[in-house]
Point group: C2
Chain length 376, copies 2
Amino acid sequence: MTKPAEKKLHDFKIEAACSRTRARAGVFNTAHGDILTPVFMPVGTLGTVKALPPKDLVEMDARIILGNTYHLYLRPGTEVIGQAGGLHKFMNWDRAILTDSGGFQVFSLAPLRKLTHAGVTFRSHIDGSEHVFTPEKVVEIQEILGSDIAMPLDECLPYPSEKDQAEKSLEITHEWIVRSIAAHKLNEQALFGIIQGGMFADLRKKSCEFMAALDLPGYAVGGLSVGEPKDVMLQTLEATTPHLPENKPRYLMGVGHPVDFFTCIELGIDMFDCVLPTRMARNGTLLTRMGRLVLKNAKYRLDFTAPDPACNCYTCKNFTRAYLRHLFMAGEILGAYLATWHNVYFSLALVREIRQSILEGNFPEFKERFLEGYSD
Amino acid sequence: MTKPAEKKLHDFKIEAACSRTRARAGVFNTAHGDILTPVFMPVGTLGTVKALPPKDLVEMDARIILGNTYHLYLRPGTEVIGQAGGLHKFMNWDRAILTDSGGFQVFSLAPLRKLTHAGVTFRSHIDGSEHVFTPEKVVEIQEILGSDIAMPLDECLPYPSEKDQAEKSLEITHEWIVRSIAAHKLNEQALFGIIQGGMFADLRKKSCEFMAALDLPGYAVGGLSVGEPKDVMLQTLEATTPHLPENKPRYLMGVGHPVDFFTCIELGIDMFDCVLPTRMARNGTLLTRMGRLVLKNAKYRLDFTAPDPACNCYTCKNFTRAYLRHLFMAGEILGAYLATWHNVYFSLALVREIRQSILEGNFPEFKERFLEGYSD
């Protein structure tokens, strides 16, 4: 008998690559299970994917969810999550968790921030209390959270930014990743690198080369989807992924519109997270294969068809547009639950279908077929 | 081979009766399954038990839920529910439904109501539009809803009321039940009678005798839990149930505090409904075997025990007080979901345990033991 090869933690195995695009299908191994890529990661900001219990996320086979370090640090705080035994135990989720660094929220939510090479000082958007995030502190918080994938502190540039500003900012981000690696002790946790560089192709290339040399278990592309036009985002991404190592997963932060999945996987992206599916759901808008469906629209009052007839989720298999419309018109909590169920399932399933098309060698055809039927 | 005896629709079979109290355990047969009594019926006002999907209600084995005719008539309206094929199909619930008459809501929610022998004119609490409920109209609405148990229109007296007022009101309620029976055509639907009579024992007796003579499939006790002291409620109930037929289920409308289950089952009540478990849950208060648990209380910040350690519900088996407190402090929808899960399960399970104690002949002992451990 031969002993099976031991699976190495944080190993990324590419199972298939598209011959006509940069798309690939892989498996990333974490301490809480295998992640089949490309993958959509539902956002669980405050220790809950808004409106959904963990059992439903398991039912729809979500393998990894995201937690926000900034939010969890402020509420309930690391003392509570630490004493609970980490975020997995606190929220009763035994599959994988990725935590961001909090950097994006500090730069987008928190007032009165002050950035130096040491770190960033900011005030809580909840109670105005002052806090300091350093690369070391952010690593420490995420080690207490005990996530499977951690992100280093980086500076998120606003759009648009001048090149000299982007260049100086990139220096800080690179300085900080080195300090993050030095501070990081938790072996079961993969610390990714984050590529920055604004919308400048040469800076992106420089950032990729710098990060690649650090031989991290995965790389995130940050600083995109921050207000720039879609074509600028795609051009920047196109100029970024060729400079990333082939054998490491690539995570595009904060992106997750149905069309984005196709255009960004085509450019070599493996992982996505986005609040769009959950946020839109709570506002009564469903993602469907035909485009957005606004449930409060009067035309659905007597529409007893499934929200998305091609969808196999709990909501679409059991409820009608007329019923969902009624729930939203009446302000019923169940509306948020059922709409979130659908939107999260839809996003997970769509990316799974894309993965399948890569394995079967027909990703470009699947993309074309999807885009033909879809309009927003 | 002998053919099994055909089960008669709306048959009520008493399986066991307590020898020391009026408590009994029975089975009421409906077109959507058997109801094991005593039973707690979760309230699903607008075609949803607030915050819970039907699959979870099935998981906790709720056999019957309540819908509110007044609310459903206004939103989404009988046209929508009628075209959906009835309330069961509209909300995807294939177990039993009881609908009230809307009378209670007209008298408690709607402004500018005007009562005559013909019926009651009122304005919608949502848009001020004018509507008329007559006994015939209310039967017709409930036939469109297609509930398994329907309630006739009755007049709900405020507390306190003078005796002559209660007497006149009772006349109207009795007149209306006769008209309701005449209008009722849906055989699969059981039309119950409602006992009124204020807090006057002789009027209650009179109402019971009048209703009993109509040989209806079940009887509700109305006009209680309307602001009177608890001992007045229990005295009135004590003076009511002996005058109701033994072989028909007895439904106490709007009552469902944990202690009420014991004191009212002891007086011969079989069915309960109450918004308390669901409403308290959304406000962050849990029902437990020890009494109320207010989740936002600071003492639960680092309390990693189950909300109710003796409870087998999804929430108590998987989450801690500290986590639930966090969800409520952060205003997360999942808090309302998990708290509702627990409170509805708790109420269902408690009444099921009472049923079991009646079957085993130790209801008084179970009551004593529960009350010893419980304080509010």
